[in-house]
């Protein structure tokens, strides 16, 4: 199906002919990234297009061109070609030398996505209101997209079933798949796995309600001001159905131990809200918390925004290396990176960019770390490089601020971002340089540390509950001092009546112990705590060792790689040693033989 089908398609229409610019790059990339797909699919697509064409030829006078996408992709043709515009959209290209015309058939675009249809589908697949005309695809692209999604779905089904195997044994394959976008239906679960908060809400069900219970009135007014203003164009935020869960998540976060020096900052609701779109309330909270701590996002929000300054410092260095002319131009115009990069980074793109882009960037960010954020910014800048170089100070600001509103092909941007080769060592070196200069220190949270904290928390909550219940048994009069309502007492009594004699026996033993302890002169609460903690530590060690071999985050994976490398090195050494031994033996044997032969 190579080559061009020639028609007199353009004869009836009024055409504007304009020399080509870079605007068609985005279209190119969409098909470029999927070049690597199976050839079978390609054949299918063409059959599809042919059938469509036949229909249309029968129906109307309009005739259309079918083109080989590979031929279109070849840069030489497009760069020197003349764009043919019809009512504002690109219809085809004309080669100035041969005067060949290559068309992109776009009529169906108009018929498919015409306005009356739009009113029926007001929200896009992420639940956001469609404001402007969405990016429209040609038939080929749509066909490709649907088939590609099917292919991805089947792949991800397998991965979902045995996640840990694929994460540990096939990290490269997983990386590739994530880079091409996680399907929307799997995104929530995969994010949880990547962040490391999978099923934590089920393990520690009592922690979240405890965190919600304390609400600081000042904080409440502060947060409530922003609730109406997060994702105002999302379906569920417009209803108000997501606002209360979001509020609770933010309250829970500000009550956490990990948020002591941070609290609530504008920009957080966008991140938490994005999680809410994919996960249930409690799961969204844990995902949010783990992102804040493990990925050091909390340092973005700390007073003075230390992490953002580090990112900007790194970006400056990277710009100097990868896009030197752009760097010099920005310097000449007196533009500071912070003015446009800071608002992008504060919500990790969630606040400024359309959700379609945010989600794709986050997919890769969760898997590959903050390095990708910098790469993505570089790709954004390089995408608009030509325009930026021709503009002055104010217009550049405008351009960069409205970048999020312009339609752009995400696949193209991501593939461009991944083409930048950045060494992690360099980045870390710059970061530590900046930290030394400004005396900044970050708290580091591992998966282990977080899980341990959660475990201790849940245990202490359990203990509190149990101490309350036991206290009510011994001296019901004391409850008032503890601040327990009478309803609780009744519940506990009912429970004890159901539990047989054995429970009572154990409680009597405990009472005896307590009495002994009283005689010794120390506080009973202290002793109680001590004994519980002993048990807890025991339990912790037991359970923890089982749990955490399963949930591997980025750092753990790196650790594993290091261990594996060491093993391999050891093996190599062993082999070398063995070879030497063999050689020695052989030499010795030869010597013996020679000596024997001499004797003879």
């Amino acid at each position: 199906m190579s080559g061009i089908v020639e028609t007199d398609y353009f004869l009836d229409e009024k055409l504007e002919i304009i020399t080509s610019t870079d605007t068609n790059e985005s279209e190119k990339s969409g098909s470029e990234t999927r070049k690597s797909e199976n050839k079978k699919q390609n054949v299918l697509k063409f059959q599809f297009i042919e059938a469509k064409e036949k229909e249309n030829k029968l129906n109307a006078n309009t005739r259309r061109l079918a083109i080989n996408p590979m031929a279109l992709n070849k840069n030489n043709f497009q760069r020197n070609s003349i764009q043919i515009l019809y009512s504002g959209s690109i219809v085809g290209y004309q080669d100035p030398k041969t005067q060949q015309i290559m068309g992109v058939h776009n009529e169906e675009k108009n018929s498919r996505h015409s306005l009356p249809n739009l009113t029926e589908y007001n929200y896009n697949r992420y639940g956001f209101l469609i404001e402007k005309d969405p990016i429209t695809y040609t038939d080929k692209e749509l066909c490709k997209k649907t088939q590609f999604e099917k292919y991805l779905n089947s792949k991800w089904m397998n991965i979902k079933k045995n996640w840990h195997k694929t994460q540990n044994k096939k990290p490269k394959q997983l990386k590739k798949l994530i880079r091409s976008g996680i399907p929307n239906s799997f995104r929530g679960v995969v994010w949880e796995h990547l962040i490391g908060s999978y099923r934590i809400s089920q393990k520690y069900p009592n922690v979240y309600p405890k965190l919600i219970s304390n609400i600081d009135p000042d904080l409440e007014t502060e947060i409530r001001k922003d609730l109406n203003r997060t994702f105002p164009f999302h379906e569920n935020f417009q209803n108000g159905s997501f606002q209360e869960p979001l509020f609770r998540i933010l309250i829970a976060w500000s009550n956490c131990e990990e948020s002591e020096d941070i609290g609530y900052v504008q920009g957080m609701p966008f991140i938490a809200g994005a999680f809410l779109i994919y996960l249930t309330e409690e799961d969204a909270f844990y995902a949010f918390k783990y992102l804040m701590t493990k990925y050091q996002v909390r340092e973005i929000f700390r007073s003075g925004f230390p992490l953002i300054w580090i990112y900007i410092y790194q970006l400056e260095k990277l710009l100097e290396i990868h896009l030197p002319d752009l760097f010099n131009h920005l310097k000449k115009e007196g533009l500071k990176l912070q003015d446009f990069v800071l608002p992008w980074l504060i919500g990790i793109f969630a606040e400024r960019f359309s959700f379609e882009i945010v989600v794709r960037v986050w997919d890769i960010y969760f898997n590959e770390g903050s390095c990708f954020l910098l790469k993505f910014i570089l790709s954004l800048l390089s995408w608009k490089k030509k325009e930026i170089l021709s503009l002055g100070h104010d217009d550049i600001y405008f351009l960069l601020q409205n970048l999020s509103k312009t339609n752009c092909n995400i696949d193209f941007l991501i593939s461009r971002a991944l083409n930048f080769k950045i060494k992690e060592k360099e980045l870390q070196g710059w970061a530590s340089e900046y930290k030394k200069k400004h005396n900044i220190k970050f708290q580091i949270f591992n998966q282990e540390k977080l899980d341990k904290n959660l475990f201790i928390q849940s245990r202490s909550i359990e203990k509190q509950l149990s101490s309350r219940s036991s206290g009510s048994l011994i001296k019901p009069g004391n409850n008032r001092d503890c601040g327990i309502s009478s309803e609780d007492d009744e519940i506990h009594k009912n429970k004890t009546s159901r539990g047989g004699k054995e429970k009572n026996k154990t409680k009597i033993r405990k009472d005896k112990k307590r009495k002994k302890h009283k005689n010794s002169g120390k506080d009973k609460n202290d002793w109680h705590y001590y004994s519980k903690q002993k048990k807890m530590n025991f339990h912790y060690n037991k359970e923890y060792s089982k749990k955490n071999t399963k949930n591997f985050g980025i750092q753990q994976r790196i650790d594993i790689r290091i261990i594996q490398q060491r093993k391999i090195e050891k093996l190599k050494k062993k082999k070398k040693y063995q070879k030497k031994r063999k050689k020695r033996k052989q030499k010795l044997q030869q010597k013996k033989r020679t000596s024997k032969s001499k004797k003879k």
């Binding site: 922003d226 203003r229 504008q266 504060i346 606040e351 104010d394």
Partner: protein, 206 residues
């Protein structure tokens, strides 16, 4: 055409962004997104037969973001401090904003006090007299606006344009006589470097 920077400051959800949106797009959204960091917009207006280009820097109101604001105040020729007339605390925090401005620029800047949300007259907690007092104490300009109904918003920006032009003229007048003296001196002594003169001009402007 001359460019002027204007910095908008004030507490959280006071209506800074919606005033600017009313001015530029003549539009009002109840559920506008909260500003995180800084926003930048610009528009040209015609005042007294002159066209002036205004660069509007819309800053975030939350406490954590206050550390960013000084760098924007540094280069701006006018500062607008916005508060909510239905919210006393936002009025009280005006003092803080004035301090930040004075620390950065002294009395070099024109300051505008703006009370927003006059459409909520029933919930009013800050009277106009209070505003007047506060403004007269420091010699600031003041206005009450409503971004929702568009009340006084156009006037606000016209006043901003007029006052900026006035200040600009004053500055130019201040610079000119100095120059004349210098030129007369030049005639006498002839030893003055032309570079020094340029430096003086620049320092006067900025």
């Amino acid at each position: 055409m001359e460019n002027f920077k204007i910095c908008f400051m004030g507490d959280q959800s006071v209506g800074k962004t919606s005033i600017i949106n009313r001015f530029i797009y003549d539009d009002f959204n109840i559920n506008s997104q909260s500003t995180v960091g800084v926003d930048f917009l610009s528009k040209t207006i015609f005042v007294e037969n002159e066209s002036v280009r205004l660069h509007l820097w819309d800053t975030a109101g939350q406490e954590r973001f206050r550390c960013l604001i000084p760098s924007y105040v540094r280069n701006s020729s006018l500062v607008v401090i916005v508060f909510d007339i239905t919210n006393k605390t936002s009025f009280k925090s005006i003092e803080f904003w004035m301090d930040t401005v004075q620390n950065e620029r002294g009395d070099d800047v024109i300051v505008f006090l703006v009370g927003n949300k006059t459409d909520l007259e029933d919930e009013r907690q800050v009277s106009l007299e209070k505003l007047e007092k506060e403004a007269n104490k420091n010699g600031f300009l003041y206005l009450e606006t409503s971004a929702k109904t568009g009340h006084n918003v156009k006037q606000l920006f016209r006043k901003i344009g007029i006052s900026i032009l006035k200040q600009n003229k004053k500055r130019k007048e201040l610079i000119k006589p100095e120059l004349d003296e210098n030129t007369s001196l030049m005639n006498i002594s002839l030893n003055i470097d032309p570079n020094k003169l340029k430096q003086k001009e620049e320092s006067g402007c900025c």
